[in-house]
Amino acid sequence: MEVTVKLFATLRDFLPKNSDGKSCRVEIDENTTIKQIITQLKLPEEIPKIILVNGLNGSIDQTLKDGDVLSIFPPVAGG
């Protein structure tokens, strides 16, 4: 199955090269957690993140289903 992953701000640098610059599609197995997707995309674990699944707040241990849209926001720290 396949999910769409949207990355924002500094995290966009971690999108695969063939992406549209905003999001990418990721093939996953059943019971794949958001944490596993974060690891697969090599997003830095130490950065706290806001996670949305289909626009609703999600958690790192949540599993995804086919067609889900996962959005991940980092804290933007400059000032």
Binding site: K22, P75, A77, G78, G79
Partner: protein
């Protein structure tokens, strides 16, 4: 502790007690003794004629004290627009000095200010923008030990910092003193902003427990202009009671794609900063 009782502890006059507006937001109540000169009425006319602002709103703005934490990329537009709007007293805190590499975004400062304290430079710039308001320049580094002294009797804290550890110090104090706290951050061509006022909203630690690593971050000056201007607007909305504040939601702005995205923010009932203050 309510903000009103906080002010009473600080020895403030009761005229600063808050009330609720039609949207349920806390707003400063006006003080009928505040008067405007003809010059001030002319200066602020374009906002006084705004529906829901009026002279009553302008009085609240004039009575207000705002603590601006940082006089850099975000602090510049925040201070400039709050000064221009007639906020009576700005407490601007920054221990740094303007550097040449700051001048692409820190529009309060120019080449002649290099080597001065940023808060002092800010005060001098603002005196030219609006001589009717008072600026208190503070050159201290913000720490847990001095935050209460630095914020003083300010009615609201504006986050114009460039790092999360200091933001968490501001957040902890805002939670403790029940002060509203406008949080924002910028990077490159993107930024985020939310209006924090516990216990009604989550605190910054509910949203981002921990800190991303400090780094030299890329930034286009206009990005700080966009997000800092939004912060100034939230402060003015809070003071006048006009409009609906960015409570319980984070606004992300992506300038590369020119898109805004809003995220609903839940409270963390186990938050170590605000979790027991519900």
């Amino acid at each position: 502790m309510s903000l009103a009782s906080f002010h009473q502890l600080q020895g403030d006059k009761p005229s600063k007690i808050l009330k609720l507006n039609s949207l349920g937001n806390q707003v400063m109540s006006g003080d009928n003794h505040v008067m405007f000169t003809d010059e001030e009425k002319t200066r602020y006319n374009r906002q006084i004629i705004l529906s829901g602002w009026g002279e009553e709103g302008q009085k609240k703005v004039k009575q207000a004290t705002v603590f601006i934490a940082g006089a850099g990329g975000l602090g510049s537009p925040v201070a400039i627009y709050l000064a221009a709007a007639g906020v009576g007293r700005l407490r601007i805190c920054d221990f740094g000095e303007p550097e040449l590499s700051n001048l692409n975004r820190q529009v309060l400062h120019d080449e002649e200010d290099i080597g001065k304290n940023k808060a002092l430079s800010a005060k001098e710039s603002i005196a030219k923008i609006n001589p009717h308001i008072k600026v208190e320049n503070l050159s201290d580094k913000i720490e847990r030990e001095n935050i209460a002294h630095l914020v003083g009797d300010a009615h609201i804290i504006v986050d114009c910092m460039d790092n999360f550890p200091t933001r968490h110090i501001l957040n902890e104090y805002a939670v403790k003193a029940e002060l509203p706290f406008v949080h924002a951050g910028v990077f490159g061509m993107s930024g985020q902003i939310t209006f924090i006022h516990t216990p009604e909203t989550p605190c910054l630690y509910c949203i981002f427990p921990g800190s991303p690593p400090s780094e030299v971050f890329p930034i286009v000056g206009a990005t700080a202009g966009v997000i800092g201007t939004l912060e100034a607007l939230e402060v003015l909305k809070y003071l006048t009671g006009k409009g609906s504040l960015l409570k319980n939601r984070m606004l992300y702005w992506d300038g590369e794609l020119m898109m805004f995205q809003e995220i609903t923010l839940p409270k963390d009932p186990k938050c170590i900063v605000c979790g027991n203050k519900r």
